[in-house]
């Protein structure tokens, strides 16, 4: 399985290692090389310096036709744009964008992009921890419809939605 | 007592109401000062309209609370046996509206109240209106600060 991770932060690095250990082909991108220090020295995947929102960079890194695309930078909008690029131009099967603004997270799930919202996650988790009732939101907001550019590979988009709903 | 020696402080003052506890204080003060020179008083209350509504949305005209701010000012003035002309405005920014209104009314004094805020530990939140007015007003500006209540002083 080819996994593309945009943003080599704490989460990105941990995931890269985990995917790699599980025997996947991992490509990780970040705008700064310093970010790759977070990766273990044993990491043998492909670490590429470059902007994840630039189609050319992604193609050069080999992100095309990846099975999983995770946009995990600190910028919500960068994540969204990278994820949309992946869906629209790179023919990626399963795309997830981290969007910390709850409004945008919900809006893009509505638009057909799977999103994960740290704000929502922490809110729900902490409220649950404190014994309060939570909004009962799924951890990953599944796309509510096909992405505007996703018509031509609907077949891939639909299985992508199913697991995240579960 | 009118004292001809004394210089006229203002001939026409705009009294800015914010609906808080300082309104009555500044109206009373304004009426007391204005009486000496038979100066005119204009009470202005600006309702800030956020951008989700058009500026001329029918908001302030229907709100009893908003009307009451001006009504109370009128009443306070009458208690001091003085007349105050009430003006109700809707604007995006209170400071700008006050300055513009003072300009249009040819006011030579703008009086604002700075209420003591009991919440958040008690302080004077100057906010953005007073600095704006101080910076942009065409006339003299009085900012009347409330005294700090006894128990929290």
């Amino acid at each position: 399985m080819k996994v593309v991770i945009v943003g080599c932060g704490r989460v990105g690095a941990v995931l890269a290692e985990a995917f790699e250990k599980a025997g996947n082909d991992v490509i990780i991108l970040d705008r700064s090389t310093g970010a790759f220090d977070k990766l273990p020295s044993t990491f043998r995947g492909n670490a590429v310096r470059g902007d994840g929102t630039d189609e050319d960079v992604l193609r050069r890194a080999g992100a095309q036709d990846a099975d999983v695309f995770l946009a995990l930078t600190e910028g919500d909008n960068r994540n969204v744009m990278a994820a949309q690029l992946a869906t629209e131009a790179l023919n990626v099967g399963r795309v997830l964008a981290k969007v910390n603004d709850p409004v945008r997270a919900a809006a893009y799930a509505d638009l057909g992009l799977a999103t994960i919202c740290r704000t929502n996650l922490m809110e729900d988790t902490i409220l649950g921890f404190a014994g309060l009732s939570t909004a009962q939101r799924p951890p990953i907001l599944a796309p509510q419809r096909t992405h505007p550019g996703g018509e031509h590979h609907r077949a891939e988009a639909e299985p992508a939605a199913a697991p995240s709903e579960a | 007592m009118p004292n001809p020696e004394q210089t006229v402080v203002f001939r026409r003052a705009v009294v800015a109401l914010n609906g808080g506890s300082s309104d009555a204080r500044i109206v009373r003060l304004a009426a007391g000062v204005a009486r000496q020179w038979k100066a005119e008083l204009v009470a202005v209350h600006v309702v800030e309209i956020d951008w989700t509504q058009p500026l001329d949305a029918d908001i302030a005209g229907r709100s009893e609370d908003v009307q009451r701010v001006l009504d109370l000012a009128e009443e306070t003035a009458e208690d001091c046996q003085y007349k105050i002309e009430p003006v109700l405005l809707q604007a995006r920014d209170v400071g700008a509206a006050l300055v513009d209104e003072a300009t249009e009314q040819r006011a030579d004094m703008l009086i604002l109240g700075l209420p003591y805020r009991k919440r958040f530990g008690g302080d004077f939140a100057i906010g953005s209106t007073i600095p704006y007015v101080l910076k942009n007003a065409p006339c003299a500006v009085w900012v009347v600060r409330e005294p700090i209540p006894e128990e929290s002083a």
Binding site: - | V46, G61, E64, Q67, L70, L72, A97, D100
Partner: protein, 670 residues
Amino acid sequence: MIGGRRPLKGRKLADRRVRIERPHAAYFRWSGPGQLTAKESASRPTTPLGRLWARVKAAVIGRPLASEDEIGERLSKKKALAIFSSDAISSSAYATEEILRVLILGGAAALVLGLQVSIAIAVLLIAVAISYRQVCLAYPTGGGSYSVSKRNFGRGASLVAASALLIDYVMTVAVSTSSAVEQITSAVPALIDERVLIGVAAIALITIGNLRGIREAGNIFAVPTYLFLGSALLMIGIGVYRIVILGEHGAYDPNQLIRQTGETAEGVGLLLLVRAFAAGAVALTGTEAIATGVPAFKPPEARNAATTLAIMAALLGTLFIGITFVAVNFGITHLELPEQQTVISQVARRTYGDGTIPFFLFQSFTAVLLFLAANTSFNAFPRLLAILAKDGFMPRQFALRGDRLAFSYGIIVLATVAAGLVILFRGETHLLIPLYAVGVFIDFTISQAGMIRHWLRERTPGWRRRLTINTFGCVLTAIVAVVVTTAKAPQSLLVLLLIPCLVGLMRFIHRQYDAQAEELRVRDDTVIAGPHREQRVVVPINGINRAVVQALNFARTVSGDVRAVFVTDDEAEGEELRARWERQFPGLPLVIVESPYRAVVSPVVAYLDVLDQAWPPDKEAPITIVVLPEYVARHWWDRVLYNQTARRMKAALVGREHTVIADVPYRRSH
């Protein structure tokens, strides 16, 4: 400008603001959540006739005042003395005359005793004044005899006191006005035939003044009072100087006396002296005014009032004795012939010189002061009525303040009664006097008795001394009350008769209000649920027209049980209507009542009776709503053309039980 909103541009390119018109601001003021205060313009009349009336009223009595405009002016001792004592001090203008009028019957020898009688009255005055000082101190909230007796004795005594006071206030107006007019006619004898007219006109003027609410009266009162005081004291001074130092003396001319009385002297008896004393006791009227008005004083109210009372008593005593002394020594008594002359005017004439400017000035001061004395009653009488009305002893209207904050109804009642008395007694003071003073002494007695109760109950420090003073005062005034009443019989008995009548009236009114309140009372712990009685509607119609359609539409919103009733004396007309009805109001019952005797209203009423009887007796009777279509005429003058039947219908139904009458007016839309 759209919907009362005017867009405006600011100095900076993008600054905009919108000025909002406030449609309510002309009429109301939002004074709290869900709370409005009406401004003057909200109570402005809207019809042309109403506006005209309001304009006339404004011209005569001034523009309306808001309740908070009442000036709670506190009075200094100087002003209070002028305001409260004009009544008391003015009585010195006629008290001497009243004594001499009685003593004249005893001839010249008796007349000389006038001074002694006046001294006796002055002693009484001192006693009463001291007693009333106690009232001032004990009741700083205003110790009218009504409130004192109410607190100490309860309803019965307080009502007697109130009645006596009411009578007295009316008498004050009548006597003071008449006396004032007499002072004028004494100075200008040509006016003698117009005196009733002058008196009534004066009362009318005072009435208008009071309806305007002359509360700013402090100065108006002070000036004439002090002018009179000054000139009277000067007059006494001159008189005493001439009598004591220059030894001037005037003797009574027996022939003159006989000419005045038309009979011979009857000799000086004790009875005569007592009657003279009773007549002179009018000097005490108005003494209680200060005790009633304690709250109007500057603080310390009670002490200031007490001091003012003492000053007033001293002044009154001096004036009274002084005038009597001068009159007696100059041999002055009242003259009926050839011209009517009051004693005080003759004293003035004698001291200041006939036709001199000081004489005329003094006469006018005296007249003005007497009018002001009448005016004090215009303040006190409506106030007492208002208190009584609040307590439920008088019709509620008396408690309502007019546009100018004055108790208009009370003022008008007082003016009417007093003017009636002036007309009835042809404006002659001495005819009115027997009715006067009786009430005053009854009042004094009751309030002093109340004070006795007060001290016995309170037992504040020094109560024994105070109790003694008030007991003395009470006994003295009681004796005087009896003396005055008997001496002035039979006229005084009229007052004695009137008091129980008034008390009875007030009790009756109170009972009515009580009964009504009991009838309308709602237990304050009941939660009022919705209606539970059935309703049905009956609409009497006169055909099918817009007014009827509107009434029927309204009726159908009120109840599902609606029926129209059409009364006709023409069978064919009925049939025609039914045909049209079934076409235009399908499913709505129409009852056609044929009325061969051409009555319209009574068949409808009878039909309602039948409906009621048809109702199952075991169910609660329903509410029958009679909806009357009413055409509203465009002008007042063509109103007479319409709705006469509706009016008669209303009159016939107004007392009917379980029946509600609803008018549905049809107004033309333009």
